[in-house]
């Protein structure tokens, strides 16, 4: 009887108590602080340089570069000015409508929009397939969502982006990995992100680099109103649904 007890006790003691966790709490802490900071902003503006891959039937993998100037005033004003392979175009959101204008094509469209920035980004993206650069960072549940969709979140170490020291974090699942570089200073701003898609062959990448961050600037409401220039064609935007 005693011997049996001894064996049981020994066996139990050999159990591994530490459960495997692939979520690095340092990484989460950094992401949370960044999201806290973004959550406190009442307005901001930044420049985002993006590059994205596309597969062309004849030419293979092609990279496209775009520059976006983004201005946001909470909760319901936004202006995005984009230049790149889709031409020069702009989006104006004033709390009621999202106006689209293509400088290159001189045509514009109007979409009725919900009453806050994120609902607008969501609705317009789902209904019209329009991508808003770096919108993910502004979702209030950013870190929670990243945790929910990742198998691993790891703090890789320190890195340098545009001469700024940054924390390098990677969140990964089977379909994609998201690398984020967050500035190592009091502000903890996102500086860069790279998404690699594993479910496409060859792996496509999407990269965005932030610059010229301005926190809580005073931006006049007038800049979020759009008036079509004379001679501009009004076009209808075909919804995806």
């Amino acid at each position: 009887m005693n011997k049996i007890f001894l064996i049981v006790i020994v066996a139990l003691s050999l159990r591994i108590y530490a459960q495997e966790s692939k979520i690095d709490t340092t990484a989460i802490m950094i992401l949370d602080k960044m999201a806290d900071m973004i959550g406190e902003l009442s307005s901001c503006s930044f420049t985002l340089n993006t590059s994205n891959d596309a597969i062309d039937v004849d030419l293979g993998l092609i990279k496209y570069f775009n520059v976006h100037q983004v201005y946001m005033v909470g909760p319901d004003k936004m202006l995005i000015n984009s230049q790149g392979d889709k031409g020069h175009r702009g989006f104006w959101y004033n709390g009621k409508q999202l106006m689209y204008y293509s400088y290159s094509e001189n045509n514009y469209g109007v979409i009725d929009a919900p009453s806050d920035i994120l609902a607008t980004i969501d609705t317009v993206h789902k209904n019209y397939g329009i991508d808003f650069p770096a919108a993910d960072f502004f979702y209030p549940t950013f870190t929670d969502d990243l945790i929910a969709q990742s198998d691993e979140i790891v703090y890789v170490g320190k890195s340098k982006v545009a001469d700024k020291d940054c924390f390098h974090v990677i969140a990964k699942n089977e379909e994609m990995s998201i690398q984020i570089w967050i500035s190592d200073n009091a502000l903890l701003l996102p500086m860069k992100f790279v998404i690699v898609y594993y479910d496409i062959n060859p792996n496509e990448q999407y990269e965005g680099t932030f610059s010229d961050w301005r926190l809580n600037p005073e931006l006049p409401n007038a800049m979020f109103e759009f008036t079509p220039p004379p001679g501009a064609n009004r076009l209808r935007l075909a919804p995806q649904k």
């Binding site: 530490a18 973004i38 406190e40 094509e105 045509n107 209030p140 198998d151 075909a238 995806q240 649904k241």
Partner: protein, 307 residues
């Protein structure tokens, strides 16, 4: 001695129980640790701040549970990091595409005519016929539909073409017709035809309608041009209407996918379909293309995406 034995058993039970404890204690430690670092208090503060200070996103919201031992990776996420990359996105939701119907009513007997541009007549004039030639290029995919074209997309702004003083867009009302007008009957409906424009009687005058498929005229309107459909077939094109040569003359035909025309009429509208801007005339989509340096339009073959 007896007392000792009981103690031994109790002791071993106690040891087993003690060994079971550390696991949950460790998990609590993790939770507590992460809770401590992230300062839950801030979450409430940022929520109340929403009323006082209008933030961009209403403040960072985070769940209190930062326990990563039982991760549910199937939870739905708000993050949509899939960028617009050119892969075939076939949506399962096949709700019908928002087609700007120029009022085609399938009932042949229902001929509702009013002064506005809403005229219900079934004449299938702008529904595209497929081309027998296969498409070497993959389609442009958007909204559950595939857009097939032989030529690559090349945008040029749409400017309606002016076919002269006699040509009018659909819905245009005239009080009288020229003496050159003739009457053509198609499927029990009387049309008045004058120099490339088809009218039906309405409200004391005549209203322009789509050219009815099957209507035959003897002489093509002045200004008609020949357009190539494929190596063996030509169509004749005037004012948005296509004609085929037949034994009786020239018969109105629906457009064939792949046909290239230079000009589109008043009444056509630019439609932004995802990243590409097409011109839509009735039910027909035209893709702006460039052919030999000239700006042209190609009739698009639109197919609903199959799963």
């Amino acid at each position: 001695m007896k007392a000792l034995k009981i103690n031994y058993r109790h002791l071993s039970y106690l040891i087993i129980v003690i060994m079971l404890i550390p696991i949950s204690a460790e998990a609590q430690k993790m939770r507590h640790k992460s809770g401590g670092n992230l300062n839950r208090g801030e979450q409430n503060i940022s929520r109340t701040n929403v009323q006082q200070k209008k933030t961009i996103n209403g403040g960072h919201q985070k769940s209190t549970n930062r326990d990563f031992s039982n991760m549910n990776t199937t939870k739905k996420s708000n993050l949509d990091t899939k960028r617009d990359i050119n892969k075939t996105n076939i949506k399962e939701n096949k709700k019908s595409f928002d087609r700007d119907k120029v009022n085609i009513d399938n009932s042949k007997r229902n001929i509702n005519i009013d002064n506005s541009k809403n005229i219900n007549i079934n004449n299938r004039n702008t529904i595209v016929r497929p081309n027998y030639r296969p498409y070497p290029r993959p389609p442009y995919v958007y909204g559950g539909f595939h857009f097939y074209c032989y030529h690559p997309y090349f945008y040029h702004p749409f400017v309606p073409f002016y076919w002269g003083p006699v040509w009018h867009p659909w819905g245009f009302f005239v009080a009288t017709l020229a003496v050159t007008a003739i009457v053509i009957s198609v499927e029990n409906q009387q049309y008045h035809y004058d120099q490339g424009v088809y009218y039906i009687e309405s409200n004391g005058g005549y209203t322009v309608v789509q050219a009815p498929v099957g209507a035959t005229i003897k002489v093509l309107p002045e200004g008609s041009e020949t357009v190539v459909v494929n190596e063996t077939t030509n169509n004749y094109y005037y004012g948005g209407t296509y004609y085929e040569k037949t034994d009786d003359g020239y018969t109105v035909a629906p457009p064939t996918a792949g046909t290239i025309v230079e000009n589109l009429p008043d009444g056509a509208k630019e439609v932004k379909v995802g990243d590409q801007t097409y011109v839509k005339y009735g039910e027909t989509y035209y893709q702006p293309i460039q052919q030999d340096g000239k700006n042209m339009y190609e009739v698009v073959n639109v197919e609903e995406a199959k799963d």
